[in-house]
Amino acid sequence: MTKKRVFNIEVLIPFIILAVMVVIFAVSTQGKLFTAASLRTLVKQTISLMIAGLGMLFVAAIGGCDITQGSLAGLCAAVTAFAATYSIPLAICLSILIGLVSGTFLGVVNAKFRVPSFMVSLAMMIGLRAMVSQVLGNNSVILPIPYLILDDFKVSVTVLLILIVVITYIFHYTAFGAGCQAIGENEKAVKFAGVHVDKFKIGAYAMSGLMTGIAAVFILARVGGSSNVIGLGFEMRIMMALYIGGVPVAGGFASKVYKVVVGAFIIQLLESGLLLSNVAGAMTQMIRGFVLLFVVFIMVRINKRARAAAGA
């Protein structure tokens, strides 16, 4: 009996899509996308998306929903911008702390008070965005130059790589990560297997908040100072990255770190590639919409077939 893994094709799909896109854009941008400078920019542009995506992966894995990232990143950035004028390390810690607190709050209301996560996170999205305006008011802060070191390619990519390693470790090599994925498969089964489901769920949301806090630090470094619209629409971009990378909406064991990484690249490649191909304005968004639908459609189809072949 062969011990063939069933989902080989599923593992490959995101990469195939990425490859197809690379080929298309290599042609359409006449190579402009693959100059060293372009590639470096591409990676830099993906960093915050990827970091926050790595956090949201936990929430996606448990099958929950967190749409606070955008507003939360905005709030973290606002507070951090102010704090950075006093002490940069303090500011960074503050951003992470705010993210952690917000995520934990969402987790507690969802897990302990049993309010659907979409409801809580929508409420928090509205509330946190309002807090951003309240914190910033009419002030604007320009970051001290030393802070901008975080926007340096080497620094930010190093941090990103470390985070990817750490999250891969937590997500794929610890009981917490496996537990989150199992909750997405069948929460009751996990509960009856003696796992503290509530703690895991709160942990997942806390991870999401925490990573959003870290992402906010880098967004801020990119933007260079405070703005009341930081993070607008961020949560939707993260979601798109996850889904286009093949993370299932319902969560479970098909959630993988590499899917977030590849998904974020695909999203950014699409945006930058289209722009570098001189397709601009609203058309890029339309193309992105169709590509999202098409890619997910292909993925759903292939997975279905793979599962059917596996006798599932």
Partner: protein
């Protein structure tokens, strides 16, 4: 000889590797009340769901009223005047009673495009009147109805088809004494009017009492169809279990055998909603402690409450006998080498879409966590492979999703993933529910082996034979209270236990 209503010949149905129905032949006369008897997994529910059009059959034929009968869906069955009250389907709680009764057929009450609630309500009332079923409020969402009232709604839904053949799957077990009587009267009326019924009931006395004839199924096959007159419960049991009583299916010794030391100590366990009242029990080393009771006696909540999961607040004390630690959360019990298997394997046990490996891993998450919280995927694979091999799971590999593996294989995974661990005691809630005989025998042998190793087993079961066949002691629960404790020996008979249960 009365007229034939339904004739089934050589009907087959299989799910994957399981033969749920194997060459079923069955003839039902008009005005006949037929009970189906058989243990769990014997194919009763599959057969009735095929007759009622809920699932197709593989091959064979059915003839209803002299015409070929092959319903594509329940509506077509209804049109041929066959209706069924399904055991686990339930009602849509957001909709009113009358909407539930006419679900999918509401168009008949259309007045100017709108469904006339009044007409529908009247029609629904009329069903209750016609068949003398206890009235329930039909105009409010079913969320506000009791379980019994909801069952009545389901019954009315079936009766609306004015059925010549009504199938009742486990309807009486959730009904009170008074309402059961209503069902019996309904049965008599059916008989008078030349209509037929197929009834599945776990209550064997009831089965013999109310039926004209009984078809006994075992392992998906018809063993025999007998007239009920002069047939006794004991006869029935013999037929149901059949050869299974022979060999080493169950224990053969007649005396309890366990050690003195207590592994699990439960004192005054109660649930705030009254499902359990002051239950105390002690599980000893090497003991199989059976727990029996009627379905609402609280035997299933007992298992999960001891494990530490309950819908309402738990009071009392659950203590580990060895360490003396109080056990509040499943995690505490796991730490003391305890485990629990839910009765609802598919909902509360396994992750159906996930690989076998990941299911195997779930109970051992803590044990496999090493330094720095590291869990080695290779170690998980090893553990899964060990359980997979030890329990002889039949699948392509540990990476196959559980999906539609047979019930037996699923249960092997479900049980095996716990038993690969070094356990002190294990709480099993209906461990042989819905598995075929081979697996059943296998599970019993495993349990006996574990017993010999000194593991304490709390065996909660719906099947008396199982408890009698396996247990050292049996606790009988009634209305959430401990009604009796019987030791293996002379008194270890079904009649003794049933006497206490009812």
């Amino acid at each position: 000889m009365a007229e034939e209503l339904l004739k089934i010949t050589n009907l087959n149905k299989s799910f994957g590797m399981t033969h749920a129905n194997n060459n079923i032949c069955l003839t039902l006369e008009k005005g006949e009340i037929r009970c189906l008897a058989g243990e769990n997994g014997s194919g009763k529910s599959t057969l009735t769901s095929i007759i009622s059009g809920m699932q197709p059959f593989d091959d064979g034929s059915m003839v209803l009223n002299g015409k070929e009968y092959k319903p594509a869906d329940p509506l077509e069955a209804n049109a041929r005047k066959v209706a069924m009250v399904v055991q686990e389907l339930g009602v849509i709680t957001a909709l009113t009673g009358s909407m539930n009764i006419y679900l999918g057929q509401t168009d008949q009450f259309r007045r100017n495009g709108m469904v006339s609630t009044r007409a529908m309500g009247k029609a629904a009332e009329a069903i209750f009147d016609k068949w003398h079923i206890p009235k329930v409020p039909l105009g409010i969402p079913c969320a506000h109805l009791t379980m019994e009232q909801r069952k009545m709604v389901e019954l009315a839904r079936a009766l609306d088809a004015d059925p010549d053949l009504l199938i009742l799957d486990e309807i009486t077990q959730s009904l009170s004494h008074d309402t059961r009587k209503v069902i019996y009267e309904l049965k008599d009326r059916f008989k008078q009017e030349g209509r037929s019924m197929i009834i599945i009931s776990h209550d064997l006395e009831e089965t013999v009492e109310i039926s004209d004839s009984i078809t006994i199924l075992r392992d998906g096959e018809v063993v025999e169809t007998v007239r009920s007159d002069g047939f006794t419960v004991d006869d029935l049991k013999q037929k149901m279990v059949g050869r299974k009583m022979e060999g080493d299916y169950y224990r053969t010794d007649t005396a309890p055998s366990y050690e003195e030391s207590v592994l699990l100590d439960v004192k005054d366990l109660s649930l705030a909603d009254g499902q359990l009242k002051n239950i105390s029990l002690q599980l000893h080393k090497g003991e199989i402690l059976g727990v029996c009771g009627l379905s609402d006696a609280g035997i299933h909540p007992l298992g999960s409450a001891i494990w530490g999961i309950s819908d309402s607040k738990r009071s009392g004390l659950v203590k580990d006998g060895v360490t003396g630690k109080e056990l509040k959360h499943p995690k505490d019990m796991i730490a003391c080498g305890g485990s629990y298997l839910s009765k609802n394997r598919d909902e509360e046990g396994l992750m159906m879409e996930a690989e076998i490996r990941n299911n195997m891993y779930l109970p051992s998450m803590q044990e496999l966590t090493g330094k720095m919280k590291f869990t080695s995927p290779a170690a998980v694979d090893r553990l899964a492979q060990k359980a997979y091999d030890d329990f002889d799971v039949k699948a392509t590999s540990i990476h196959q999703p559980i999906g539609r593996l047979s019930g037996g294989n699923k249960q092997k995974i479900n049980l095996g993933r716990w038993l690969v661990k070094d356990l002190n005691y294990i709480i099993l809630d209906c461990p042989t529910r819905g598995v075929d005989v081979g697996v059943k025998a296998y599970i019993y042998s495993v349990l006996r082996k574990k017993k010999e190793e000194g593991v304490g087993i709390l065996l909660i079961t719906d099947e008396l034979t199982e408890a009698i066949g396996m247990a050292d002691r049996i606790l009988v629960l009634k209305n959430g209270e401990l009604a009796a404790e019987i030791e293996r020996g002379e008194a270890f008979t079904e009649s003794n236990i049933i006497e206490v249960m009812v």
